[in-house]
Amino acid sequence: MFINWAQQEITLKIVYYGPGLSGKTTNLRYIYSHIDPSSRSELITLNTKEDRTLFFDFLQLEVGKIMGKKPRFNLYTVPGQVYYAHSRRIILSGVDGIVFVADSQRERMEDNLNTLLDLEQNLITMGKTLANMPFVLQFNKSDLPNTTNFNILQQRLNFYRAPQFKSVATKGIGVFETLKMIINQVVNHIQSHA
């Protein structure tokens, strides 16, 4: 979080976390292409040759002034692949809110759990924990035929009872709902904790 009283600006950092290929970048791409260009920056993607996220994606959103104050939201994704652990830690620095994009397909349950554990461990090294930070779960690819039953997904992944959404990021289903929820969580958290 960065607040500039002189300029009446507040900038919040929201990180999309999740296993490789769960749809984090797809969320950002959808937001980028469905929001008025005057309200967003360019989408920065740092990819490998295979079009996988190497370091991070970045997109800044702005909404209109609110009581003279200018809120900005810096959205980042982390690279999901296991061996980019260092990059994930760097990007989490100064995070205000986390969206965990889980892959609803049956065979990805272990990857979801391992990445959630990796996230919690990284937060602990920063003196934080998922239990007391703004956090939203998104169960992506919910339109695919081989998904885990929604109740089981919730039981196994949403142990902190965070707000949750089923999504199909490629079609935009649940994308803006998730984003609005995490922004609300962050603002509420600032009001009650900061």
Binding site: V63, N184, I190
Partner: protein
């Protein structure tokens, strides 16, 4: 006057007076170096302020990339056994050069300047600006303005109206 580091030292609240003084130091640096663009941001990638020509440059993206790059380089320093992070990073282009340096642990200064400009001069004046900024930032006293004062409950309500508009919800 106050620069607050809330929580675990990662939330930054900048008050009017401090912002003014930072701006003055950057203006001085801009006039001394004739750098094309100067950006001051925090290590979490939030742009704080800038000087010079910024028209074609996406400052928010630049700050995010600069912070990411600097953090990645700090990891390289660790891997090769350096005790501290590198003092600066320098990129040489055909027309423009970019000089990144950290200001304490939490801030970052980026200068974009013509490749004709002598690097030595950039280094000297940047070092002076960093010293001045470091002193200014360390003189911040503890009575920080709280972030919660910035976002009250009405803020929340109007924010949601703006989000619904922007997101077509």
């Amino acid at each position: 006057m106050n620069l607050g580091h809330g929580g675990n030292g990662q939330s930054i609240v900048l008050t009017g007076e401090m912002y003014k003084e930072i701006s003055e130091i950057l203006s001085e640096l801009a006039s001394k170096t004739r750098a094309r663009t100067i950006i001051f941001s925090d290590m979490n990638g939030h742009a704080i302020t800038q000087r010079g020509v910024t028209g074609e440059i996406d400052i928010s993206a630049m700050s995010a990339l600069a912070a990411g790059g600097f953090s990645a380089t700090a990891e390289i320093a660790k891997i090769i056994g350096e005790k501290k992070q590198f003092k600066f990073i320098f990129h040489e282009g055909e027309k423009n050069n970019v000089y990144f340096s950290n200001v304490g642990d939490n801030f970052l200064l980026v200068l974009i300047f013509s490749s004709q400009t002598a690097l030595g001069m950039i280094r000297i004046y940047t070092k002076r600006a960093i010293d001045a900024l470091t002193e200014l930032l360390s003189s911040a006293n503890e009575e920080e303005k709280k972030a919660s004062q910035f976002v009250n409950f009405d803020f929340n309500k109007y924010l949601n109206e703006e989000l619904d508009k922007a997101f077509n919800l």
